[in-house]
Subunit: 423 residues, 2 copies
Amino acid sequence: MAAEAEQGFRPLDEASLVAYIKATPALASRLGGALDSITIREVGDGNLNFVYIVLSDAGAIVVKQALPYVRLVGDSWPMTRERAYFEASALREHGRLCPDHVPEVFHFDRAMSLIGMRYIEPPHIILRKGLVAGVVYPLLADHMSDYMARTLFFTSMIYNTTTDHKKGVAQYCANVEMCRLTEQVVFSDPYRVAKFNRWTSPYLDKDAEAIREDDALKLEVAELKSMFIERAQALIHGDLHTSSIMVAPNSTQVIDSEFAFYGPMGFDIGAFLGNLILAYFAQDGHADQANDRKAYKRWILKTVEESWKLFYKKFVELWNKHKDGNGEAYLPDIFNNSDLLSLAQKKYMTKLFHDSLGFGAAKMIRRIVGIAHVEDFESIKDANKRALCERAALNCAKTILKGRRQFENIEQVVVYIQSFDQD
Amino acid sequence: MAAEAEQGFRPLDEASLVAYIKATPALASRLGGALDSITIREVGDGNLNFVYIVLSDAGAIVVKQALPYVRLVGDSWPMTRERAYFEASALREHGRLCPDHVPEVFHFDRAMSLIGMRYIEPPHIILRKGLVAGVVYPLLADHMSDYMARTLFFTSMIYNTTTDHKKGVAQYCANVEMCRLTEQVVFSDPYRVAKFNRWTSPYLDKDAEAIREDDALKLEVAELKSMFIERAQALIHGDLHTSSIMVAPNSTQVIDSEFAFYGPMGFDIGAFLGNLILAYFAQDGHADQANDRKAYKRWILKTVEESWKLFYKKFVELWNKHKDGNGEAYLPDIFNNSDLLSLAQKKYMTKLFHDSLGFGAAKMIRRIVGIAHVEDFESIKDANKRALCERAALNCAKTILKGRRQFENIEQVVVYIQSFDQD
């Protein structure tokens, strides 16, 4: 941290941020120069960073600053500020590939670990909050399948030369501290006694213990963990849960890519689907006389199903469209007939489907017995009721993770999820 | 190449090499200062580089210089000289981990792409030549299993922290030109019509065509190709065939690591085993009245079997010895009982076994229908006899590659190989 400090880092507050913006044309210009009318609101409800919404009479921006520790835990858990560099890099790269669903970066200051980016205005809210409130987003599956298909396809070996791919891999290898954080909180801590683990106690004490003693589960999780570190399949977001997505009725925006690196595609797809499934299991805790949430649960499962099916369709469409391009994984003079290419695509997508189920299930488990929980469950006040929802999700996730290779399609997964319903 | 030329590169010949050595104390001192008695012999019989043996009355060294093209093809196939940097780096790293089987690097000059290293003296010869001559090396399996177990284990996530691992991965990403060469000659060209492909024609014309039309084979090879590029499992040698190994009755030395990068372990193990199996199938072409080579064939298969079994044993022993170390793939408080750790090891080694069979088979195929052939077969003068040997090897390799996951142990593989014998 000493070296970083020397580079001119200082944490901003609302007052010093105003001065910073005034001195930074790339930001000031976005506020129309009307800098005396600025209002600033800190909204960083995530686990890591400080996030400011800056409004003027003439414009609005978001300024995000990384501090050298994990905000959720405090300065006892140091965390490199360089994550801001990878967040800005991935926002720009994914934004180039999928501008409809990624906010533009206006300014990046590496020394200050500070990103200035497009303000995602109301009525956008964090998707997770919409899911807790029971709001239907008819375009969510379409938008997220777009985002995932484009960002993953265009950063994979199917589309790129080996040279470009290895260059990207090398660049993001340096985001290792964020990978280590994921390793710890997703793949390690839930499966051992760990300081920051928590769960709805005492209700789930036995469930958490069972996770720590499930040898078959640990073997599968070890395989996923190795894949997470070793397999540079595409430039993934790395933290694509439902709080990294902002939604309005006609818009879906993906934010918070500081965990980005070249990893397995299934980790992104699984994060999104797994967090939708968590939302599904939380609905019983939000049901009341006015709304039994049954229709909403059907919508969530339909969104799970459609997201995968549309992703599959779009990814394969991109593959077909670019099959004669520069990609070196499937050369056109080897995959020289459409039947063979179809077989290759089916094999690839089946493997990716099983990876996604595995990673998705691992992400569900860690949100119930690990350090960082989700509002979907946390907002269920009645602990007994919450524990019942969480247990159903946990049992579903455990069995999907262990048996993921037996699922042939997403419809089977959706039927299986429903079998864990409490009614 | 312009940038490289500016850095002071000049190709040496025997005369200028003498001047270079005189001006380089790290090399001159190894020759005992007796520089007037120097004799130099160029012995680079490989496909890529110039290699000089430098002898004086008082000592001996090897000097290897990379030129900016593939020696086998000529300057129509450019190839970065930076491969010398990765060769020197990998020699040093693997040498640190396994000094008994890797020559020391005395001097590395990056601008000149020049490595000065230990002379591996007579009676050492290239292993492939020994296999052609029918020489038994009783310690080969023991030595090579040592080399593979130590270099692969100690550069894997089982032993290292994620931080160290990613640092290594990033460094060797820049050796991408060598990875691309392997991609092309091992995983691409044999499966399409390609300029430099050749085979024993006309005998194998139909066999080569069958390879290019075998859809099931192409699907499996595509999976291996993706794993080769995407999976950073350990710092592998990258070209571990029997011409990268020098042997004497009591010594085994691994050289020529310019293809080194973080890739799948099975690529090294497969290269070694696959080239032994090629030697096996070539024996019928070397049999004569004086020596039917039957006993030698049994020794080769015994060496295949022992190499894998000893590798397995030593790798797992290293794992057990270091299970409480810094490695982050299998944490001791998760793999907290010996039964569970055993299961994890069995699962890991089974996957590695199947990877090794797949890569080994792919390396066999490319040596029969691709650009670079092996002396094992090339030295069989009678083309018809050579083609019969090559066809048996090709059919064996194709079916092992496609059915590799059905083999439960190396004994089954050895029995299967024998089923392709011509008698």
